[in-house]
């Protein structure tokens, strides 16, 4: 396996590594680096947490939504005014 992995390079590849977008060779290099580099592993763990939590945002529980009835009423008025 030809390649060199250091922290600077590993840090740039962490997202693609997580998302499964690296070649097999690059993936193996990053994995080997994370196995022996605690700081880079710490960054990777943080990114994993962010990514997992971002998916949870889809349920919308963190958002203050405008009043649906008011929004519909305003929409209806505007829609009929423009026709």
């Amino acid at each position: 396996m030809i390649g060199h992995m250091n922290c600077a390079r590993s840090l740039t590849l962490l997202s693609d590594y997580h998302d499964g977008l690296l070649s097999e060779d690059e993936c193996a290099l990053v994995r080997a680096h994370l196995d022996c580099c605690t700081p880079c592993l710490g960054v990777f763990t943080d990114l994993q947490l962010i990514i997992v939590t971002s998916v949870e945002l889809r349920n919308g529980n963190t958002i203050n939504f405008p009043d649906e009835a008011v929004m519909w009423h305003q929409f209806k008025i505007a829609a009929y005014e423009s026709h």
Binding site: A8, S15, V43, L57, I63, A78
Partner: protein, 201 residues
């Protein structure tokens, strides 16, 4: 959705608007049934608003854009042919309108570096293992709003909404490589913002 299932759904005799599929409601809306369109509005308004809010980080703009999305939908609903799910179609319409809004405002998200950290700065925080043990969703939402617009757009589309880089690149007229690098920088910046918040607490 295949044609057989589509035909099956068309053949159903619904009792109420809430029992009907999006496709049925879209067809009835296209035929002038405002009640059917209202049901579609109530079903999808929140998702559209959430996407607009996350992309703009501005509640007022998000409300205006939400209404604009449904106005477009109202005019174009007869054009929905069921090639994709209604949700996917509406979603893409929303993203396109928000991007048009950015272009009109001449505030197209810039896809450049914004004070990115050095590798040493990135790993510095890992000495404190408790600095980010869990992530509060509200804190993440606030951090996303603080991202530079270019980073925020790609992050919302990829990590929150689930688009692929090829789709994002096409929508934003950037390369796949740029989409990937913007996403990575967005994630690192969010990490920095969240750690700063955790240290401050």
């Amino acid at each position: 959705m295949d044609q057989e299932q589509n035909n099956y759904e068309i053949a159903l005799i619904p009792e109420t608007a809430s029992a009907q599929t999006d496709i049925q409601l879209a067809q009835q809306s296209a035929a002038g049934d405002i009640g059917a369109f209202e049901e579609l509005y109530r079903r999808h308004m929140r998702r559209v608003y959430a996407l607009c809010l996350r992309m703009t980080a501005n509640a007022t703009e998000a409300e205006d854009l939400t209404q604009e999305v449904f106005t477009h939908l109202f005019r174009k609903i007869g054009g929905f042919r069921g090639e994709s799910t209604f949700t996917t179609w509406l979603h893409r319409l929303t993203v396109n309108l928000v991007l048009m809004h950015f272009r009109k405002r001449q505030s197209r998200p810039e896809f450049t570096s914004h004070n990115d950290e050095t590798p040493e700065e990135i790993v510095r925080g890992t000495e404190n293992p408790n600095a980010m043990p869990v992530i509060d969703r509200l804190a993440l939402e606030k951090a996303i709003a603080k991202l530079a617009p270019g980073y925020r757009t790609v992050f919302v589309l990829y990590d929150v909404e689930g688009y692929e880089h090829e789709e994002i690149a096409q929508m934003l007229n950037i390369s796949v490589g740029t989409s990937k690098s913007q996403l990575h920088r967005a994630r690192l910046n969010l990490r920095k913002l969240l750690r700063q918040q955790a240290d401050a607490d």
